[in-house]
Amino acid sequence: MTIEIEDLHKKFGKNQVLKGVDLTIDEGHIYAILGPNGSGKTTLIKSILGMVIPNKGQIMVLEKPIKKDWKYRKQINYLPQIANFPPNIKVKELIHMIKDLRNSVADETELITLFGLEPFLNKKLSTLSGGTKQKVNIVLTFMFDSPLIILDEPTTGLDPKALIRLKELIQKEKAQGKTILITSHIMQFVEEVADEIVYLLEGEIYFKGSIETLLEQTEQTNFEHAIAAITTIGSHA
């Protein structure tokens, strides 16, 4: 088991975002965390990363409780939703800096070629377009070899070619036995890459299972429609 979450509660002011989430993430699968806007997807991910501190509940990553620990993050590669980097440094320097901060071996050259970032290496980050920034973001995430990868809206701003490369990259990581968590609003992308769907609704897990199960339960043939119709399922997962 890579991640184990028990009875997770989180409140922001009066807004109860997570209302007792229990979730087990097994090794070597790709999980898609889905749900309408404001359902708590990002809060859930940030709780796993220790960026959000839960009010109640426990999270175990790789068999260890994460409370008051930070070293476990060495086992996680995280792609944040909005990539805003320090404006005054160059792409090359940023890559070097993250490597230095993480203090672990990384192989970025292949990824840089894969996404065609060579011409941008000596440019300042403030001059890059949104899509190029996202590519840099992806390189920063995938250059480390960690057992757990968390991607928050990885497709934002990517052109079709880069999107294909990203999908290949995800499959390659999966083949190496890594566990991957993805959030996305692009259902076609989710359908292609995910093994399991976790559907969050109003701070609770409404559905967890494979795409086939989802199609069966909602009696739909199309995945996108199944997600839209998910709230019609009577029973909780």
């Binding site: 922001f12 940030k46 990363l49 220790g50 960026m51 959000v52 501190i53 930070w70 070293k71 476990y72 993050r73 060495k74 996680i76 995280y78 944040p80 909005i82 990539a83 805003n84 980097f85 320090p86 005054n88 440094i89 800096m97 993250i98 230095d100 901060l101 993480r102």
Partner: protein, 260 residues
Amino acid sequence: MLKILKYSFYDLIRSRWSYVYFLFYLALGFVLLFLNNDVSKAVITLMNVIIVLVPLIGTIFGVMYYYNSREFTELLLAQPINRRSIFMGQYFGVAGSLTMSLALGLGIPFVLYGLLRSNAIFDFSLLLVTGAFLTFIFVGLSFVIAISNENKIKGFGYAVLLWLFLAVVYDGLFLMSLIVFEEYPLDTFSLVATALNPIDLSRILILLKLDISALLGYTGAIFKKFFGTDLGFLVSMAILLLWTVLPILGLGHKAKRKDF
């Protein structure tokens, strides 16, 4: 922490504002020396500028840096780095680069003018030391305010208000209380009230070292009796240090509990 400090520092010394700040002090130093033609007098004029401006710049820079680097902070938070180190590193990066701009900007003209051969070198060093203290204090306070307020406008507003209070309003209240309670002995009160405000404390500290306390009359004599002695000097430095440490502790405390 040192790595974060290194990167924040590099990021800052490459930003345009650090140069503007540095060039401003450089120009100020040259102009004052040129107009006064005397190192000691230039130090006094400089003190008036530093006492008010350094806290203001520290406050604004601190708040701006915190809000501007928010997303990057989030990126760092997802890395295997202790939270405390991230914020401490950023804090020392900002305060350090501002202090460097101040020290170099003022140091270069004064050294060129012949500071090293004049008697004012101790006064000048004291000026730089209090300037450094004020930078660290106000950057620290502004970081605490920024981390406690999600809303940028609010955070900015509170930080500027804090500066306004300590730099201007506090003196007004102090003076008014002296007038209202003039029937009572106010020696201890004014000593304590001065010590509680880092800006006032720095001002008095420099004024007394400059040996112009005679201008301050009777109160000046009392102040001289306290701040002018070695003990008073040490106590003042200790209070400035306390003013520096408290915001840092507050920052660590806030950083541990905050959600990003």
